[in-house]
């Protein structure tokens, strides 16, 4: 399994044709207490860069963009009851959705962990 990152602070785990998407530890820290996550509909087709999800903190709403294109096959139902999972476990239990990749070449646009860490350190 490989993990990729975007400049919008999403992580993408890729296993075969399936990608799991969430927001990074850095992002949850910046957003603060998360009170709601609006996930995409299962079956929806996302193109890279589309609005995919909305994450709401006490004060503000932030868009989460589709880091890669594909069909949404599963969303994290646990977030409905416990959106704070994104705070407590951003890069594991707080995942947002899974999709079937439609264009694996897009992964080359993303950063690996080392590059992302360097990106965050420069912010």
């Amino acid at each position: 399994m490989s993990r990729y990152f975007t400049e919008e602070h999403e992580w993408v785990d890729v296993e075969g044709d399936t990608a799991t998407v969430g927001i990074t530890e850095y992002a949850q820290e910046q957003l603060g207490d998360i009170v709601f996550v609006e996930t995409p509909d299962v079956g929806s087709e996302l193109s890279q860069g589309d609005d995919a999800a909305v994450v709401e903190s006490v004060k503000a709403a932030s868009d989460v963009y589709a880091a890669v294109s594909g069909e949404v096959i599963e969303v994290n139902e646990a977030l409905e009851e416990e959106p704070a999972l994104v705070n407590s476990s951003a890069e594991e239990d707080g995942w947002f959705f899974r999709l079937t990749l439609s264009d694996k070449d897009e992964l080359s646009d993303l950063m690996d962990e080392k590059a992302y860490k360097a990106f965050v350190d420069n912010l």
């Binding site: 603060g32 009170v35 709601f36 609006e38 609005d51 909305v54 709401e56 903190s57 006490v58 004060k59």
Partner: protein, 380 residues
């Protein structure tokens, strides 16, 4: 995160906030603390203990000279000439057409009128007042004063732990102030102006302190076990729960007082006289004749609605706007303020908000959403 952070002014406590781990953001032209440990925790701390807020960005102004109160009444609808020494009034600064230029607190200090106005509007407010007030009234912008707000059910017992004494005989000690009363005090030979007021719905104080002593006072307060520093994020969620409007969001120059649901700021004697800026337009709507009205909303489900979302009718046409919205940490549900047509403003009315193409069901709610906990003077 790409906001321009250049040209931001620093407040007296900027370094103090940073040393406590605050995340600083641009606000009203200043770099200000939005949060320390987190909005939710800071909010709940203020509702149960006591929080210290740095609100030094707000404008502090003294008006002095013969007839200052009467002169200020020409551009506000408050009964200021009858305001006794040590008493505070909430009022509105009105444009000549009655539109709301700002909301403010006016205190009769016994020597002059002391005004606290919003940070984002203070320069415009001062320019307008200088233009409108007669030359016999002197306006001093107290730029060398910081302003701290100590808010929460334990604010009173916290302040008592500092040895704060009345500046002169005849004034109460801070603990004996009631809601909307103020006085001059001394702490370690430092002059303080203390008001029992605030913007959270809780009991508490606003303390004007010379900027060079602000850090000593802030540290003395946060050294107390019941006091923690609180950022602007929680200040906003607290005032929203308290049903208190935020200028520039929940009202502006395009809104009249009755539309903003601020009838209580139109004092009876001033309504009868009708001699204030825009009185004809303002009073034509009094008490319930405006077409729109600011109301509170409970939002169905867990997703907040935000400022700027449209209130829509059955056909999807915009009939109003959400002006503040967020998640209530106390109630653990989303709440909002919105302008709606008056016929839809009764408590319990079903309202639909359109946000990101999604219809969200809401219900008009009484405000405050969370009951006020003021230290009021007992009614005799």
């Amino acid at each position: 995160m790409s906001e321009n952070t250049e040209n931001l002014k620093q407040l007296p406590l900027g370094d103090w906030h940073r040393s406590l781990g605050a995340r600083m953001v641009p606000f009203a032209g200043y770099e200000m603390p939005v949060q320390y440990e987190g909005v939710m925790a800071e909010h709940i701390w203020t509702r149960t203990e006591a929080g210290l807020f740095d609100v030094s960005h707000m404008g502090q102004v003294n008006l002095s000279g013969e007839g200052a109160a009467e002169a200020l009444e020409a551009i506000t609808p408050g009964n200021l000439s009858a305001l006794g020494a040590g008493k505070i009034r909430y009022t509105l600064l009105l444009a000549q057409d009655g539109g709301i230029l700002d909301d403010l607190m006016v205190t009769n200090t016994g020597r002059n009128l002391y005004l606290v106005v919003n940070g984002a509007t203070k320069h415009d407010d001062i320019a307008y007042m200088r233009q409108q007030l007669p030359v016999s009234v002197t306006l001093d912008h107290l730029e060398d004063a910081a302003l701290l707000a100590l808010q929460g059910p334990k604010a009173g017992e916290a302040l008592v732990k500092l040895d704060v004494q009345p500046l002169e005989a005849g004034w109460p000690v801070p603990a004996d102030l009631h809601f909307m009363e103020a006085g001059p005090f001394l702490w370690n030979a430092i002059p303080l102006g203390i008001s029992r007021s605030g913007y959270t719905g809780e009991d508490g104080f606003e303390i004007s302190v010379p900027a060079e002593h602000a850090e000593a006072l802030a540290s003395a307060l946060t050294d107390l076990e019941e006091v923690r520093p609180i950022g602007l994020g929680a200040r906003d969620s607290l005032r929203l729960e308290a049903g208190l409007p935020l200028y520039g969001h929940d009202m502006d120059a395009g809104v009249l007082p009755v539309e903003a649901n601020l009838n209580f700021a139109l004092s009876k004697i001033r309504r009868e006289e009708g001699k204030f800026a825009g009185a004809e337009r303002v009073l034509a709507q009094y008490p319930d004749k405006s077409e729109i009205k600011r109301v509170g909303l409970f939002i169905d489900g867990r997703q907040p609605v935000r400022e700027g979302a449209d209130v829509v009718d059955d056909a999807g046409n915009s009939i109003g706007k959400v002006t503040s919205g967020g998640f209530s940490p106390t109630l653990q549900r989303p709440i909002a303020m919105a302008y709606v047509p008056r016929e839809l403003s009764a408590t319990g009315t079903a309202i639909t908000v359109l946000q990101r193409k999604k219809q969200i069901a809401c219900t008009v709610a009484d405000m405050p959403f969370v009951p006020h906990n003021y230290h009021r003077k007992p009614k005799i």
